[in-house]
């Protein structure tokens, strides 16, 4: 254990603040957590690790009162409590910060810290006290920030600090940081770590949820690894190596989940040269061949989605060039991209992929509505139904689902609709961004099978995924992005830890 533990009696230091006992939670048919138990103690930083779908975010939601567990107990200060909503969690001293800090941009820093609980003197707001307390807090944690600054002037690193300081002021005893460093530069990360250490020294129990193993190794005292909803390991950080962590996270061997891939060496269809978008990615160059599945691995915030959006014309790049089948291609708009044969299945199907209020056939054919219209613009509904039936078959969507409201479908079926929508355009290039995110195993296998078939038929696929196992199994070639650049290229099959190390920037020493 680290020796920075405060010099209080060891009992006090090791006293558990929050205990989770046997937490179970499921969604529909999916068991997200099956009997997870962990303890959070005073004055320590615990790393919470696990792949996408391992259950980390569900656990965090249960701790913060957003969700309630189906089974198990939450024990705070020795008493079993029911954390039924975020307010209760806050009153119990459990706070969390997320990637997108929730701040009031028009107000100044001090007020953001005290929002909803401004200090008052005889009933009126005491600004003097507010500024003083804010300055005190910042001094205590070693942050140089003027409390009078309006927050809209501040960048995201500072906003995060405000979130953290807020939890201090509300006297949180447990602070959960969900992927705090994914949008920070490395210098900002260093500052953050100084802050986290000083928080730990004050006795706060910190939970550091992250994929970045080098950072986890650097800052945490203890690591907890989740996999498929169970806790597979809990160890002092100093007792594990990065490669062991990777092993624990990745676990089982690749099973029948993944289809076999045909490796066709088609001709190049897309050439990307020195593509840059300031703040998101820089100097990205690669080529894409017909029939291949080019995996794009990387940590959250590496810039993969932004790259995809640049190619698809949602947010055009600042500089660089692209060639499509030999002809120069400028990404102007999604409409244009669709017309030249590029399809993009976005990450968040709920907000970007589907119009929930419309029925399935409409969503399924949305990309080709202009083709469904006749010469005069009349929308031929019968043609639409026919097309959507065909597409449903291709994506293995049961016929009974066909005329339902999209909102009533399960996540997996919804994703099939989105996939169908893009198949309808008969694309030459299909970009998939986290295509199996949040869908059940069975549908996952079906979707991946369809993707493999597509590739086999000559479509060029770019497969973006944060699930290590999936992206390795589904790619015929694998690129790794980190902080906006392509840092590695592997031929598959490739070992998981090699990919993870490239993604997190950890270079493995030659094993002796």
């Amino acid at each position: 254990m680290s020796d920075q533990r405060s010099s209080d009696a060891d009992d006090n230091a090791a006293a558990p603040v929050v205990e989770l006992r046997g937490i179970r939670r499921s969604f529909g048919g999916l068991q997200a957590l099956s009997g997870v138990s962990m303890t959070l103690r005073r004055g320590e930083i615990v790393g919470l690790l696990g792949e996408n779908g391992a259950g980390k975010s569900t656990l965090v939601k249960i701790l913060t009162g957003v969700l309630e567990p189906d089974g198990g107990q939450i024990v705070v200060d020795g008493e079993v409590r029911r954390v039924s909503n975020p307010r209760v969690a806050r009153e119990l001293g459990i706070a969390a910060t997320y990637q997108e800090p929730a701040v009031f941009p028009d107000l100044d820093v001090a007020e953001n810290l005290f929002a909803g609980r401004q200090p008052t003197r005889r009933g009126i707001v005491d600004w003097g006290a507010m500024y003083k307390k804010a300055e005190e807090v910042f001094r205590e944690i070693g942050v140089d920030l003027d409390p009078r600054t309006p927050v809209y002037q501040l960048g995201i690193a500072d906003r995060q600090i405000i979130e953290i300081a807020k939890s201090l002021i509300s006297e949180a005893r447990v602070l959960i940081l969900d992927e705090p460093t994914s949008v920070l530069s490395s210098r900002e990360v260093d500052s953050l770590f100084v802050l986290l250490n000083s928080l730990r020294d004050r006795g706060i129990s910190l939970v550091f949820v992250s994929h970045k193993l080098d950072e986890v190794k650097a800052i945490t005292d203890r690591v907890v690894v989740l996999r498929d909803g169970t806790l597979v390991a809990e160890k002092p950080t100093s007792d594990v190596s990065v490669s062991e962590l990777v092993q624990m996270m990745c676990g089982r061997a690749i099973g029948d989940l993944y289809p076999s891939l045909t490796r066709v060496a088609g001709d190049t269809i897309l050439e990307v040269e020195n593509l840059t978008r300031r703040g998101y990615f820089q100097n990205v160059s690669f080529s894409l061949r017909r029939g291949e599945i080019l995996g794009l691995a990387g940590l959250v915030g590496a810039g993969r989605t932004e790259l995809a959006e640049a190619i698809f014309g949602i947010s055009p790049p600042d500089s660089g060039s692209m060639t499509l089948d030999g002809i120069p291609y400028t990404a102007v708009s999604p409409r244009h991209a669709v017309r030249v044969g590029i399809a993009y299945l976005p990450e968040d199907r709920l907000s970007n992929g589907l119009v929930m209020g419309m029925r399935v056939p409409f969503n399924m054919t949305m990309t080709v509505w202009s083709r469904i219209a006749n010469r005069f613009g009349r929308f031929r509904t019968r043609v639409m139904y026919r097309q959507s039936a065909q597409l449903a078959e291709r994506v293995q969507l049961q016929a009974g689902r066909l005329n339902q409201l999209t909102s009533s479908l399960s996540g997996g079926n919804q994703q099939k609709v989105v996939l169908g929508k893009w198949l309808a355009t008969e694309p030459r290039i299909l970009i998939l961004d986290e295509p199996t995110h949040g869908i059940d195993v069975g549908t996952k296998a079906e979707v991946l099978g369809i993707v493999a078939e597509l590739a086999a038929s000559g479509v060029a696929v770019i497969f973006i995924s944060s699930e290590l196992e999936e992206v390795r199994a589904m790619s015929t070639r694998l690129l790794v992005m980190r902080e906006g650049s392509i840092v590695a290229e592997f031929a598959t099959p490739v070992d998981a830890h090699v990919v993870l190390e490239a993604a997190s920037g950890v270079v493995a020493r030659q094993e002796s």
Binding site: S2, Q4, P86, R87, E100, A102, V103, F104, P105, D106, L107, D108, E111, A115, G116, R117, Q118, T120, I124, V125, W127, D144, L145, D146, R148, T149, P150, Y152, Q153, L154, G155, I156, A157, R159, V183, S185, S186, D190, F193, V194, N197, D214, K217, A218, I219, T220, D221, T237, S238, S241, V242, G279, Y280, E483, G484, G505, V506, V507, A508, R509
Partner: protein, 359 residues
């Protein structure tokens, strides 16, 4: 007009708030226009014109302050004109019942209370019926206007029916400054205090800046909505009282068209329609500026009918300017630059050193 904030991206914020700078700019503009007008327009600098201008502006400013409060919370109230109109009539006719020194007190309380009641009606629709404010207040606009007509009962309120203290209010002056102006200043001070120094006021800004976060942090949005619209209504009621004094005769069209005027005043003065930015002073300055321009247009006979065009265009321009400027000002939420030299950590070295470095 709106933004003039230092664009330095350092951690030490140099400027206290956005609005202060724009207030100064506005004041400068108003002073400038006044000077030019006084110098060039003989009609402008007559005592009666100035008096008239200030009285009308004061009335609008008071109602605009109320509207500003609502807009700050990211809501809107289209019914203020009707509330003013009804209160003008009712206060004028009912306050005659209380004679003596309590008359004015009763009158003011009546105006505030009635106005607040109508404002609560608006909030009720928003809270209970879950209507968006724009549609709710569009509906109450018609309902309250209808009430106005019913209350007037086909005729109007005559100056003779209005108690003396009210009729004479407009002409009076305390320490040389007209009563209307005093009242407007008092409202300005009180509301500024509320906005700046009470939890209620700060909650308004929070709700306007980020409603979701505000609710999440425990701001009681339903209660605040009632309070916000009640305050706006109360100020509109007070405006109604002044209206009765200003015009003497109150008929069923009192307050028509006031809605656009007060929204324009607030918006031009720097209250953002997106919520969260602006002050009571913004509304007053906006009312002053627009009132002055209106006055000048009338005097130069450009047109007495320019009012609506002016207000409408002012709103569009103000919104556009604010949107453009605030987009330029707000820092992008993603990281700015990549540092090309992120050290790659040596795993074995880390493992050997036993973990956490102390930063």
């Amino acid at each position: 007009m709106i933004a003039d904030v230092a664009l330095s991206a350092t951690r030490r914020g140099r400027v206290r708030s956005l609005v202060r700078r724009s207030d100064t700019a506005l004041i400068g503009l108003i002073v400038l226009i006044t000077l030019v007008a006084t110098a060039t327009l003989s009609d402008f600098r007559t005592l009666s014109n100035i008096n008239n201008l200030l009285n009308t502006t004061a009335l609008i400013a008071i109602v605009a302050i109320g509207e500003a409060v609502v807009i700050l919370a990211r809501q809107i109230d289209l019914s203020v004109g009707a509330i003013l109109g009804i209160c003008a009539y009712l206060v004028g006719s009912w306050s005659g019942h209380v004679s003596g020194p309590f008359g004015p007190v009763f009158g003011v309380l009546l105006a505030l209370g009635l106005g607040a009641a109508f404002g609560l009606g608006n909030a009720l629709l928003i809270n209970v019926f879950k209507m968006p404010a724009i549609i709710a207040t569009l509906a109450t606009l018609s309902i309250y206007t209808g009430l106005q007509i019913i209350v007037n009962n086909g005729s109007q309120l005559y100056l003779t029916q209005v108690p003396k203290w009210l009729a004479g209010l407009r002409g009076n002056a305390w320490f040389g400054i007209g009563t209307f102006i005093w009242i407007a200043v008092i409202c300005l001070i009180v509301v500024t205090f509320i906005l700046r120094r009470t939890r209620f006021g700060r909650d308004i800004y929070a709700l306007g800046s980020n409603p979701d976060a505000a609710v999440y942090l425990g701001v009681k949005i339903r209660v605040r909505t009632y309070q916000i619209f009640a305050l706006c209504g109360a100020l509109a009621g007070l405006g109604g009282l002044l209206y009765t004094s200003q015009f003497g005769n109150v008929d069923a069209t009192a307050g028509n068209g006031m809605n656009l005027t007060v929204i324009a005043a607030a918006v031009v003065g720097g209250v953002s329609l997106f919520g969260g930015a602006g002050t009571a002073l913004s509304a007053v300055l906006g009312a002053l500026l627009l009132g002055e321009i209106q006055n000048i247009l009338e005097l130069t006979r450009i047109s007495i009918f320019a009012e609506q065009t002016l207000q409408g265009a002012a709103i569009v321009i103000a919104v556009a300017v604010y949107a453009v400027v605030s987009r330029r000002l707000r820092r992008p939420v993603r990281r700015e630059a990549f540092l090309s030299d992120h050290p790659t950590l040596d795993t074995a070295a880390i493992d050997a050193a036993g973990g956490a470095s102390n930063g």
